[in-house]
């Protein structure tokens, strides 16, 4: 069970409310009792009292009626006795009614008083009847005597009895009032006791709770004040397990967390300082490299432009070569056709020569036969034989010549055919050459385009490199600025004290900051070290001893 403030306060209030409730219940109960008593008092005691008083009155009225009945008026009234009698009857009826009421309401112990009264009342009534009868019978003197004699005594007794009853009733009502008063006193004492108890319990509990809360709250406030002033070295002891204890624990955790965070921040500040110094150096190198890169890029740009011109020249040459190769292929094809025509012509010549050869052969045969005939003719055929021999020689010569022409034409045909084949074989080679040259030409054009793009890219590269140079210079100055900012940050973090080493700030101290800053300053000798806060003014050092010029100013003053 966790005793939180809520639980405690709830318990206290519940207890107080319980006591109040009990008080209220008791008060209500007492009120009800009082009410009952008063109602009783009003309803029965007062009624009895009134009835008793009424009985006394009626008795007196009876006695008055009796005396009036005995008195004779000066003016005779015949109806008077009857009226008096009627009045008397009415009074008796009232008395009977009252008696009945008394009998119904009286407590049993007073019934004997009532009975004693009734006895007296009847004795008196019987005497009165006797007196009235005497009076009615004209014996008024006897009646008067009786009245003044026994009747008076009876009336005194009767009155005593009724007064005794009335006194008893009165006393009883007084007792009832005393009882109500006693009940009231009891209820008051009880209620006052309850109130005192509630006050005591409530104030003691409230004091306990308030004290316990305020003490620990004060501790919390003190710790928070310490944190506000940058002191993170302390925590507080916690006890209990209520909200205030939780608050304490939370504040403790906060302090621990803050301690850790400040530690981390100071470490980060150190890292930032060294990193910014490194960054300054690196950006310096970067700037140098970018400058070199810019120079290289310009050289590359010039080379690429030269290359571009060469490639364009190559592309033009390749186009010319392509045209020449196409023309060569066409020429070779035409030559091949011409050679084929020549071969056909040679073939035709060879065929014709064959005919000549055949003619020569047949001429030879004819000449031979002619020679044979001439020989058989003997002397007569001698001249013919000579002619035949000559014809035969001519035929043989023409045959030989034809054979030579034939072989020559055959070899020419072969040569021409092979030349034609070679020419035709040349055509695909030339076409292939042409195609290759076309490809070379296209490739050269692409190369020209590519080199133009390269040239453009290099120009862009040049631009980017220049931007890089300026950017790296900016970065260098930014790194210096960052170093000073990290100094400022270190000073700001110094505000927090997280261990007993004190304000010297071993963790976040300037001792570790200085090297980085000094490195940055050393790398940027041209840049003056910026003040921590640049508020646009100058810092004049007026505390120094001055220099030799000060004396001159003094002398001028003196003069």
């Amino acid at each position: 069970m966790k005793f939180t403030i809520k639980t405690k306060l709830g318990a206290i209030f519940a207890f107080v409310f319980l006591l109040s409730g009990i008080s209220a219940v008791m008060a209500l109960r007492d009120l009800k009792a009082s009410n009952d008593s008063i109602t009783e008092l009003v309803a029965s005691d007062v009624l009895r009292m009134l009835t008793a008083e009424d009985l006394i009155t009626q008795e007196l009225l009876l006695q008055v009626n009796l005396r009036e009945s005995l008195v004779d008026p000066s003016v005779p009234d015949a109806g008077r006795p009857a009226r008096m009698m009627a009045d008397r009857e009415a009074i008796h009826a009232q008395i009977d009614k009252d008696l009945q009421v008394m009998r119904d309401t009286l407590p049993p112990e007073q019934i004997p008083l009532l009975d004693a009264y009734i006895v007296e009342h009847e004795k008196n009534a019987e005497l009165a009847d006797r007196i009235l009868k005497l009076n009615a019978s004209g014996q008024s003197a006897a009646a008067n005597d009786l009245l003044l004699g026994d009747a008076l005594a009876y009336e005194v007794e009767n009155n005593d009895a009724i007064e005794a009853l009335r006194n008893a009733v009165h006393e009883e009502s007084n007792a009832a009032v005393a009882l109500v008063n006693e009940e009231y006193a009891n209820a008051r004492v009880m209620l006052i006791g309850m109130l005192v108890a509630s006050l005591l319990v409530g104030s003691v509990s409230a004091a306990f709770v308030v004290l316990s809360i305020s003490g620990r709250m004060k501790q919390c406030i003190e710790l928070a004040t310490a944190v506000a002033s940058g002191d993170l070295r302390r925590t507080m002891a916690t006890k209990g397990n209520d909200e205030v204890a939780q608050l304490q624990e939370t504040v403790n955790e906060m302090v621990l967390k803050l301690r850790e965070v400040v530690g981390n921040v100071s470490m980060a500040v150190r890292n930032v300082a060294s990193g910014s110094a490194q960054m300054a150096a690196t950006s310096e190198q970067l700037s140098q490299g970018a400058t070199e890169q810019a120079a290289s890029t310009e050289e590359a740009s010039a080379s690429v432009e030269e290359m571009s011109a060469n490639i364009k020249q190559s592309a033009d040459n390749a186009q010319i070569t392509e045209r020449m190769a196409l023309k060569s292929a066409e020429d070779a094809r035409t030559s091949g056709k011409a050679v084929a025509d020549a071969v056909d012509a040679m073939q035709t010549i060879a065929d014709r020569i064959m005919i000549v050869q055949e003619i020569a052969r047949q001429t030879d045969l004819l000449a031979l036969n002619a020679a044979v005939e001439a020989a058989r003719a003997g002397e007569h055929g001698r001249g013919f034989a000579v002619v035949a021999a000559e014809v035969r020689k001519l035929a043989e010569r023409s045959q030989t010549a034809a054979a030579e022409i034939s072989s020559l034409s055959a070899s020419t045909v072969r040569t021409a055919a092979s030349a034609g084949e070679m020419l035709l074989g040349l055509v695909p080679d030339i076409e292939k050459t042409s195609a290759l040259v076309t490809e070379i030409s296209a490739a050269s054009r692409e190369l020209a385009t590519g080199s133009a793009q390269i040239s453009m890219s290099i120009q862009q590269l040049d631009k980017v490199t220049q931007q890089n140079t300026s950017a790296s210079e900016e970065m260098s100055s930014s790194a210096t600025e960052l170093a000073s900012q990290s100094d400022a940050l270190a000073a700001a973090v110094e505000f927090f004290k997280i261990d007993d080493a004190g304000a010297n700030g071993v963790i976040i101290g300037n001792g570790r900051m200085r090297p980085a800053a000094s490195v940055a300053a050393a790398r940027q000798p041209a840049l003056p070290r910026k003040p921590l806060r640049n508020d646009g003014g100058f810092d004049f050092d007026l505390a120094g001893d001055g220099d030799e010029n000060d004396a001159n100013f003094k002398r001028r003053d003196a003069a």
Binding site: Q362, L365, V372, A375, R376, A385
Partner: protein, 160 residues
């Protein structure tokens, strides 16, 4: 025909022809005609010496192969081959025969004195087939005794 009968005249006109590597000569007066090779018709049952007949201007003429008789190896037909139609006495009657020649060279006239007898000891040639030989421009020219060859071959064929 014998050499002695030849020597009755002073000169003799001959037609020289080639059979294989040999040069032969036949007298011009027995030669009727020189022809280009003709379509030949095989005679059933004929011997190797006269296997075919040819149609010479309507006459059926047997075609003899002297190479068989003279033992000269066959060399085939080329554009120089010729057929010589001869008229020679066979069994006392003149008859037309044809012989194949690898080439016909020329018509020449020689002195009969230049014709010499074939040595008896020569075993290459049957001596009765040759009349004689003479020295031509390119070696010896043989003069075959055609009637003797034909009658001998014909009788051999008949005997076979």
């Amino acid at each position: 025909m014998k050499l002695a009968s030849l020597r009755k005249t002073e000169h003799l006109t001959l037609v020289t022809l080639a059979l294989g590597s040999q040069t032969l000569a036949v007298p011009a007066d027995v030669l009727r005609e020189i022809l280009d090779p003709l379509p030949v018709t095989r005679v059933p049952g004929a011997g190797a010496f006269v296997p075919h007949v040819v149609n010479v201007r309507g006459s059926v003429v047997p075609l003899a192969n002297l190479k068989i008789a003279l033992g000269i190896p066959e060399a085939g037909v080329d554009d120089r081959s010729r057929i010589l139609v001869l008229e020679i006495p066979l069994d006392g009657e003149p008859a037309l025969v044809a012989i194949q020649a690898d080439a016909v060279h020329e018509v020449t006239t020689i002195e009969t004195l230049r014709i010499e007898r074939v040595p008896e000891t020569a075993s290459l040639w049957p001596p009765e087939y040759l009349i004689g030989l003479y020295k031509g421009a390119e070696g010896f020219v043989l003069l075959p005794d055609l009637p003797a060859i034909f009658s001998a071959q014909t009788s051999q064929a008949a005997a076979a």
